[in-house]
Symmetry: C2
Subunit: 369 residues, 2 copies
């Protein structure tokens, strides 16, 4: 195990090591079939069992109600930015978007490309997305087709604590790519939940979509076949060849989460990791957090140093110490530690230890600057 | 190695064992980075080198000219059925399709869903797609935007020997999902070549698109961002998170093909395997091929037995012997041996040996039937 380092990448991100071991085995020979997971027909019995299990385990973790479908799609969350309005935004309706960062902006952009009417119900753009809008800042349109939000904002390091109130009967559509299954989620509150796998759920190239069945059927049948949700719901995500390895690995991650104690245990584990880091940042006179405290993400911890020079030095030295992926996104600057489900507590402890050492070594330089 | 069986799956299909060994290693720690291939940021140096190498090796294999882009997309060839007409078929033009099977039919269906004008320039549907149309059967429309063909038809077991003649200046758009890089290909003859990876090139979930640069720019800028080719060409297939493992593995398959001697050597290897099987079928009084000889596929060898009962017995006994995936597609019946690039000669030899034994054991029963 000593040949692996601490990986704080924002995504694709670290996967649980037991799942990687399963992947290695399955690559050569899955389920004793004599054939690797990537070489099995998606119409055969072996893969059929794998996808059925993945769906069942996904359902169990969040207690997904029977009137929701669990689908596996391709194209990333970015293709969902288009599929959502294509399927759920009729020409005579308006969709409300809560603008909390770049991904929400991209979702709005794609809705507008399609000619969709979009209302920005709240935005924290004026302060560079340093917070989640407060309840009294949100102003919905009279009767939105849906309310779209991004539950966690990787770039800025903010996260919705819980779902905002929405007008009665209006479905919430949530991009949960960066905090899916990091905590319990009450699926019943949502119309659509979608998540690119590559942060908390598996490898890139597969998107989990949990969608209420009436919304599956809401899309026009005149859309390209692969851009209708019903295509995937009708055929168990097997209309065409799905990303079989991605589905297998997502299934293994679901099992791993269950083995950790499920979503409540995951939430506890994640909160403890984040607390370790935020507590140190708050106690430090050298490092500082970048977002408002009540909006802080438990997944992406963003922080700054005293100067850009010291930040660059910090990132370079951390990398040498085997603490990888700490450079902040270019639009936010500074540092970012992404500590998703699979990030072990030991990685965060190693990071805090290094931050302390770095602070001690460079406090004098910072005071002079 | 004894724990793996002979896999004749039509796709996802067998991968080269050296590539699977690389995949196992890279899953844990790729390129000595201390991080697995699925856990690396697609914006980092490690993945950057991987994708650059994959593109370079793809280019070298077929001598792809500089004015073509090599792109990695998601959604399978099935999403290309929509992206092609979205980008390349203006409302006032007609596209010509050569109808040689179910996949070509699906491509036509998606073009029509978009309101595209489609002309069927030739079809072998009347005889259940048992052949590739002859040159004199093809009648193009006056000035098609493009001519679409499926180079190999997995279900029926037919394959174009070479590109059909097309009107001067009209780009050929080819779905090469099931014979890509199984033989040399003169890219210059094509406008767009697209191939789902899961037969000859890698795992499912990644599509190789080779497209002439003027066609990259032909698509309307009003399309959803992820459905424009320029999005992928402008950003080295990295506009959003790509299927990183799939791209890595495709790159490894390209290297493996090069190590086998390149596309000419691949073609020789594949022709020899197919000859072994077809020669036996032609010599047999028990088995028979299902398609016209000059249309036979070197990738998917389709054949029938004397009765359906004996066919089912053959498939069941073959499976017990570790010869998997031989059941023909439901719309063609009988048997199908898919013998793509990575299928070793030994697998075909084992199959022919079993066919001989089965014929000897059951010839009497067949004579009575």
């Amino acid at each position: 195990m000593t040949d692996r380092i601490h990986n704080f990448s924002a995504g694709p991100a670290v996967l649980p090591e037991p799942v990687l071991r399963k992947a290695q085995e399955a690559t050569w020979n899955v389920a004793g079939s004599g054939i690797g997971i990537m070489e099995h027909s998606h119409r055969g019995k072996v893969f059929d069992r794998i996808i059925d299990e993945a769906v069942a385990n996904c359902r169990t973790l969040a207690g997904i109600p029977d009137d929701y479908s669990v689908l596996f799609l391709q194209g990333g969350a970015s293709l969902q930015f288009s599929m959502i309005p294509m399927n759920l935004l009729p020409a005579d309706r308006t969709a409300d978007y809560l603008l909390t960062g770049v991904w929400a902006q991209k979702a709005v952009k794609e809705a507008k490309i399609l000619g969709g009417k979009v209302h920005i119900a709240a935005s924290s753009e004026a302060t560079n997305f340093d917070r989640i809008p407060a309840t009294d800042e949100i102003a919905y349109s009279p009767s939105p087709a849906y309310v779209h939000l991004t539950t966690n904002n990787t770039i800025y390091g903010t996260q919705w604590r819980s779902e905002p109130a929405v007008p009665a009967g209006v479905p919430i559509v949530a991009d949960t790519s960066s905090d899916m299954y990091s905590r319990p989620i009450d699926v019943r509150k949502y119309g659509v939940i979608y998540a690119g796998a590559q942060k908390n759920l598996g490898p890139s190239g597969v998107v989990l979509v949990i969608i209420r069945n009436d919304l599956v059927e809401a899309g026009p049948k005149t859309l390209p076949t692969l851009l209708q949700y019903r295509t995937f719901a009708a055929d168990k995500s097997l209309y065409n060849t799905p990303p079989t390895l991605g589905i297998y690995l997502m299934g293994e991650v679901f099992k791993w989460i269950a083995a950790q104690g499920g979503l409540a245990a995951m939430a506890e584990h994640n909160a403890a990791k984040a607390k370790l880091l935020y507590d140190f940042i708050d106690s430090s006179e050298f490092f500082r957090g970048t977002v408002q405290q009540d909006s802080r993400s438990l997944m992406n911890v963003t922080f700054r140093g005293p100067t850009e020079e010291l930040e660059n030095m910090f990132i370079a030295e951390a990398t040498k110490r085997g603490l990888d992926g700490l450079k902040g996104h270019r639009s936010a600057g500074g540092m970012r530690a992404s500590i998703y489900n699979a990030c072990p507590r030991a990685a965060v402890e190693a990071l805090v230890k290094f931050m302390k050492e770095f602070e001690q070594a460079h406090r004098a330089a910072a005071a002079r600057s």
